[in-house]
Every structure is written in C-alpha cells, then in structure tokens.
Homo-oligomer: 321 residues x 2
Amino acid sequence: MGTARQALAIHGGCGVLPHDSMTLAEWDGARSDLGRALAAGWAVLSGGGSAVAAVEAAVNVMEDSPHFNAGHGAALNADGVHELDASIMDGATLEAGAISAARHIRNPVSAARALMNDGRAVFLTGPDADRFAEAAGFAPVAQEYFTTQKRVEALAAMKAHALAGTEASENEKHGTVGAVALDLAGHLAAATSTGGYTNKPPGRVGDSPVIGAGTYARDGVCAVSGTGKGEYFIRHVVGHEIAARMAYLGECLEEASERVVMEDLGATRQHGEIIGAGLVAIDAEGRVSAPYNTAGMFRGWVTPDGRAYVATHDELHEVTL
Amino acid sequence: MGTARQALAIHGGCGVLPHDSMTLAEWDGARSDLGRALAAGWAVLSGGGSAVAAVEAAVNVMEDSPHFNAGHGAALNADGVHELDASIMDGATLEAGAISAARHIRNPVSAARALMNDGRAVFLTGPDADRFAEAAGFAPVAQEYFTTQKRVEALAAMKAHALAGTEASENEKHGTVGAVALDLAGHLAAATSTGGYTNKPPGRVGDSPVIGAGTYARDGVCAVSGTGKGEYFIRHVVGHEIAARMAYLGECLEEASERVVMEDLGATRQHGEIIGAGLVAIDAEGRVSAPYNTAGMFRGWVTPDGRAYVATHDELHEVTL
C-alpha cells in the first residue's frame, strides 16, 4: 500500500478554452491564481493540517479569483442572478456538507464545511443556505460582489445565441473549481464550488453539491472533484462510480477516472453533442489523475517532493509555491 | 439472465411504527392505500406501460394519501412549512429528474418526471421548481393542501421534545414514499417523494432528490428507492452503492441491499444512535428486496403471478389488485 504522503490537485473548470477567449494577461492571471490555490492548500498540508482544510483553502483562492466560475466571477443564470452550489466531503468520516442555489455567500465551500461541522443537515438549499452561512459567521455579500464584466458579456452572448438559434461555444458552458487532497494522516477530502453555467435555468442545481456525483471522498480509495456538464455527472454518479470501480473492480485511479471521463461521459451523446467533462482525483497513496475530454482544463497539482505544476491545455508550467 | 418479466415494489417509509401511534382504522387505511398504490403501478405495467410510468403512478397514490409523508400528509419543517423533495430515474437511459424544497406541487414526483422529459436540467430547487411545475401544466396547490392534523400535532410534539430536551420517537423522524419497477420491455425505474421529516431545518434537502443516494436505476442491474435518515443515504450514496456491489462484486440484489442497510447504515452510529434505514429494490429479473433495520416499514410488492402483498411489520397481508 505504500506510505501515506501528502498530495494535492485542483481544477478550475474544463471546456474548449480557446486561446483568443482571454488576453495574455488573463491567461497569466488564471495560471497565477491556480498556483496561489495550490500554495494555499499545500501550506495547510505541510503544516500538518487536514485534507478537509487543504481543499477548502485551495478552493477559497479560486472562489476569490475573477478568473474562475465560482464565488467572485461566478456565472450568471438566465435571470441575471448568481446562484452558487458547493460541497465538501471528508473521506475519513464520510461526513459532508452541501449548499445549492445560495446567493450571498462569499465562499460557498466554507459554508458547506461549516454545515458539515454543524451536522444538523448535509444539504441546504436557497435562502436558507444563505441564512445558515450568516448564522455561522459568514458576512453576507451582495450579488454585485460576484459579478464581473466578463460574466455580464457571457450572458449577453448566450442570450444572443439563443435568440439567433446558434450554438454557443463550449467555453461558455462549463466552469467549476475543485480540489482533492491527501493529508499526512492519510485522510482524503474533496471540495467543489461553482456558479453553474451562464444562462442556466434559475433554480438549476448541478452536480457540484451532489455528494457522489461532483464531489466524493472515501479514505483508502479516492477523492474526486468534477467539472463539466453537471447533469451527466449526476446521472453517472461520477465520484462514487470511480470509487466503486477502484474498490470493487480493483482498477487503479487512472484507469477508473479515465474510463468514466472518456467512456461513460465521453461516449454519451445527445443530438450528436459531446459531454464535456473533466475531474481531478487522488488516491490513498497520493497519486493524481486529471483527465478531461475537452480541449483543456484549468488544473494543477503538487508532487510529493513539493514541485507544483499548473496547466490549461497540454503544456505544463512549473510554479513556485 | 432469465426472461424479463414485470415486477413492482413500493415503500411508504420506515421507523419504529408503534402500534398505538395510529388507530386501527388508520392502519387499515394505510394498508389499503399501499394496495391501491400497487394496483396503480401494476395496471400500468400490465397494460404494457413503462417502468417509469408505473413508479410514478404508484408514488402518486401514496402522495395523495394522508397516511404517508409525501404530498398530502407531508411533514412540516421547523417553520411549519411543507418543503417537498422528489426524484425519478429511468434505468434505460440514466435520465433523471429531481426537485427539492418545492412548496406548491401536488405530486412532486410527476413534476420530477416532467423535468426529466424536458431535459433542460436534471435538478431544480425551491420556487423555481414550483414555477417549472406550473409551466409544465401542474396547477399549483396552497400549502394547506399538504397539511393534516396529524402532521400539525407531530410538529408540536417535536417542538415540545426539543424544548424539554427529550428524544422524539423514531416514528416522527422518517417517512418517504417510493417505488421501483421492472417493465415487460426489461427496463427498470425508481421514484421517491417526501416531505422530509417533522421539524427539519428549513431548506434542508434529504436524499430523496439526490440521484445515486435515495433514488437510482440502471437497466441490467437494479432500481432502488430509500427511506430513513437521508443524510446517511447521501453520505453512503446508497442507491449507486447497491448497484456497484451487484455490477462489480457480483453480489445478488438481496446481498447488496441487506449489506448496505444492515451494515453500512446499520453499523453507523452517532451518539450511540441507530441510523434508521430501509429501501425497496428490484433487479433485472424482477426479484424484490425490501430490507429495513427499524421495527417496521410500510411496503408492498407484486409477485410475477400477480399476487400482491402489503406489510407494515413482520406480517404480510395479501391484497387484491
């Protein structure tokens, strides 16, 4: 089984990610923020902190970054409103916290963690999720906090596409942030946070807060955080499916996660469409897998010797933590 | 693999079910309504209808009955409000529809089916779920439609227990209705509908609308609908766990479902508490399993020769369809 060692992987969403969709400064900014997310999570792990605390810290950085679709920079729904989904799971206890359709929580993943710790419910939705977060000590933020010019433009573009009957770029459709970690005590955790997708139906809940689908962690097996067409992650119970293939079929992390992303999701077609999907996963020995069936995925990981890499497409960028 | 044949099983919730908690007329009424639910689902299957239509029809009868915690007769949350969760899954396509925290949908499982057919989202929450249902042609009902004297008294009793710091009966805590079916074409389906539990936190989402947890169906493997402490069904991804044990470990339906209810959930303890849980499940050959780790579970099934049984505790009652 090898010795437990700390490990961390993150994602910031998958999709077509066309090079001309962002300025060079924005690409640099996104990569830099991925590096800062890794650094935040790695600092927790290196300080002997828990995998749960590490994934929260990493996701918080991406929630606070305008470059990713979660927290500040979250997508706008069809009503021009930000509705936020997030969850976190502790592989040691199988405890979990999940929030859907929240509108005023600056860092939804932190509210999900507070809910997990509170223990009275695993899953809260809507204004009651906002109220729980405020009661738990998270100062509410106005909707404007989440809004960026880019998301306003994306919504206008999606509405124009809808009006014209043309197909929007896959780039507009995905976007979620997530992290998985193994801590020095050998515990696994996963966390995911998202604004959903631009022009989504109001009240739509994706896979990010669905334990077993977009977020799953079980000690001794794996931790998984997904990004892509959430409806398919729900239908395929992606996180738990990967864990089950590993635990019951004896597949390794890479086999199981590639199988789900490339075959179960990659093979699903509706009206000839490809089901864009990606995820980061980590096993009990700290091995990382980060498959995606789209052109790119914002992602990063830290190897056991502390070397950190971020990537958007094929090319890896080493970063200093 | 045997020949596909039609089969149906339903549940109306598990718990302590003390005999003195209902009058003899109420016990008779509950059993009668279980029989009517079986008859409704069986009529669909016998007429060559789909498993999806059969589970919807069976659940509708229990939603309309005052004896079960779903639709009319749903539990009240801590604010004295009915918030309804439901979902449905088609094992043939892995398509699904799920609704959480709806307040004005007379038959939430039918709205979940309409959402599945609509296809724009798998999961809708809150007022937007109500709006979707209305737009789909389901006339909204006032909250009062769901309220029964029994639920008002149960909420008062729970609040009194909370004030006194005493433990409420398990009977007050559970209650969900669900159905699983195999149709003549060999397709499986599952559906679940609930008011949650009495005095639940506002905005709390249980496992009933969480695909993979409280509801799951996959052709060739099994269909599952759960009842019990939803938070644990979410954490253990119960429906998909049973399917994974069957598909990947080669366990039969009974082994897999008993294992999850009696060991995974039965063994989980928090503050010495037993995790009350039950479910109905059906496999690709129409075998039924209906395990529960509580004193009783409202349940029923039809054998391939058309004989129907309902039960609340150990004793089976044969009913005429």
